[in-house]
Symmetry: C2
Subunit: 399 residues, 2 copies
């Protein structure tokens, strides 16, 4: 398995993409904000979606469509407007746009899905968007991965793409993807969109299993601000054009690699983030306990600001373990900063170690480990620090 | 029932207080950081404490003591050091200091409790603190409410006191209190200390019931940053010196009033807070659903920054209702900004109303109401906005 430099959604055989500036926000913005993925032959589709009760119109549309049909040929995406909290009009807008794309591509109406990201509660400018659909179709090209990866962004500061080439004795296939998401990232993938393509030959049932497994270890293990959006969507598309039927484990590994790399990129691009933090909890009574504890630490504003301030205030970390109310005993809890055993049995080993810990805090990427010494449960969660810039971005967003 | 202007812990008969600068942090800070409440006659004591599994030494000490004995005569408090995550040495420090106070007051060792607030994981400077105990005892005075209220503060920007006079046909009694807490405020009262005194005659059993009821509607209904500390403590002390046996409902009402006013003051002093926000959820399937939904809204960084930015971005509020996963249907959810019906059945009534809503967002105190139209469950939660200043305070605290 080999990472392909700068590979995006068009890296697998037969996938084309395009992007336009459809002025979705109606503010004459210069950024491309509508884009399309298309495959020369229909693909099997797997999807994982937000658990928010108030799902956006395109999410509701996709969930219903996938119950009936697993084969598609195109996905339309817009940024700048979430088409969430938009009632029946939002559902109708989604149907109208996917139908318009199908007509322009001359394929069945039920072969197109859609996703949206951006402001909630505003109706999509359907007519304005429809005017650009012919251009989207005309400009489809297998060299447009970058254009696609950029058009899906909102408050992100850089595009996120990753691809791997998997060589088998019968030949090679590719798994590649693009993602967006910077704020509202939390378990269950808040405001996160991800499109993964592959030219491997996979049944729709296997595809769904592989995707769900990959999402649990990646997008469901990251948090920026513990908010859960109405729009989160991860699509995995397999068009079989390589002719290769992959080993299931090998395919899983490839999709895991792509999703984990994209998930980490999202955390690194967390709104206002200056540091990438890995929170490991081990020795918990169960994996669930470990995950609960790790997420409480990763979401704590006091912990996140502590990392921002580069102060190894370990007491805040232990307080979080206690606040998570998982099975733990202060006098048996150990804490590591990277490999440095900093707190043993709930007490700082030596106050002089604070300066070593402070050095570690200056790193751009920091890994901490809490060992609860209770059992074999473990979890790994990725998060970022909380900076003034987060406030600036979110207090001023939309205005 | 009548509010008494500026009344603090010494307002009820027989309660005295004092405060000194014991240099708890060892940095020669000028602020008073150790203080004492003493009653001329023993008082009944009720206590409510943090639910954090890793409780600070003074909290563990108080919980154990209250299991055996409900009668006390003094409470020692220090700020600047939480005496949490300090192991057996922390427990010993607490015992040594309360014994020293008892000796100086010439009362039994088991008549003194203690609480602490400040940095976690540092041992108390017991010897330095003990040197100041005689002064604390010498300076006890019934005019020292303000000194006490100031000495318990950490990152707070103003002292918090409240008192009420309750007139009965047999005479009057007073309920008064002081509190501290600005960061780490969340359900279960994170890093919050509160001392309530009364000269009413109350049995220890009634006192505990009254306190628990009052805390549920006040300190357990506020959130600043969803962190839960190791040290939260609310004490209610009744020395009976007024000779008045209060009506239980009237006493409850008086304690409710004092705790709610102190809880609101804590939110107003939330680290970096510029706005006081009341989140009402009604029409929920149950009170529990309503509280879960209200807290999710009140803790959402996206909602808190939205208030800071004064942008009536109602979609974020509806997204939180969905994220809380309580029983709700987007097409039946209504949202009010103050009395303005802004969103009806999940849709904005009229985009022109955004300017009215934007006017409301400029207020220093804002009340919003989500009506889920599912049942009769309701909850009210108090919170504040999230500003750059919060980051500055917490990234730089301790350094």
């Amino acid at each position: 398995m080999q990472k392909i430099n700068k590979a995006g959604v068009c890296a697998p055989l037969g996938f084309l993409a395009s992007a336009v500036n459809a002025d979705v926000k109606g503010k004459g913005k210069e950024k491309n904000d509508m884009c399309l993925i298309y495959s020369e032959t229909p693909f099997k589709m797997a999807g994982v979606f937000t658990k928010n009760t108030f799902k956006a119109a395109p999410v509701r549309h996709a969930i219903e469509a996938l119950k009936i049909n697993k084969e598609y040929q195109a996905v339309l995406v817009n940024s700048g407007n979430a088409n969430a909290c938009t009632g029946q009009q939002g559902i109708d807008a989604c149907a109208e746009l996917t139908s318009a794309v199908a007509d322009a591509l001359d394929i069945d109406h039920n072969k197109v899905l859609m996703s949206s990201t951006g402001t909630i509660g505003v109706q999509l400018p359907v007519e304005r968007m429809k005017k650009h659909i012919d251009t989207l179709v005309d400009e489809l090209d297998d060299g447009n991965s970058d254009l696609f990866a950029e058009a899906i962004l909102t408050t992100d500061t850089f595009p996120k793409q990753c691809g791997v080439l998997v060589e088998t004795k019968n030949g090679a296939y590719v798994v590649a993807g693009a993602a967006k998401g910077a704020g509202m990232i939390a378990p269950n993938m808040a405001t996160m969109l991800c499109y993964i393509t592959t030219d491997a030959v996979v049944s729709d049932k296997n595809l769904q299993t592989v995707l769900e497994t990959a999402v649990n270890g990646s997008f469901n293990s990251i948090t920026v601000d513990n908010d859960m959006s109405t729009n989160d969507t991860v699509f995995l598309m397999a068009n079989g054009m390589s002719g290769i039927i992959p080993n299931q484990n090998e395919l899983q590994e490839a999709v895991n690699l792509v999703t984990l790399e994209l998930a980490k990129a999202i955390v690194k691009d967390g709104e206002g983030a200056t540091k990438f933090i890995t929170v490991n909890v081990k020795g918990a009574d169960s994996d669930d306990d470990a995950k609960k504890c790790a997420f409480l630490i990763a979401n704590s504003p006091l912990v996140k600001t502590m990392f921002h301030g580069e102060d190894p205030n370990w007491g805040r970390l232990l307080a979080c373990v206690g606040a998570s109310q998982v099975k733990a005993d202060e006098s048996q809890t150990d804490l590591y900063f990277e490999d440095l055993l900093y707190v043993k049995n709930g007490l700082i080993i030596d106050e002089k170690m604070e300066s070593k810990a402070a050095e570690i805090m200056k790193q751009a990427e920091i890994s901490i480990t809490l060992d609860l010494n209770m059992g074999k449960g473990e979890a790994k969660v990725y998060t970022c620090d909380l900076s003034r810039e987060y406030i600036a971005i979110n207090a001023d967003y939309r205005s």
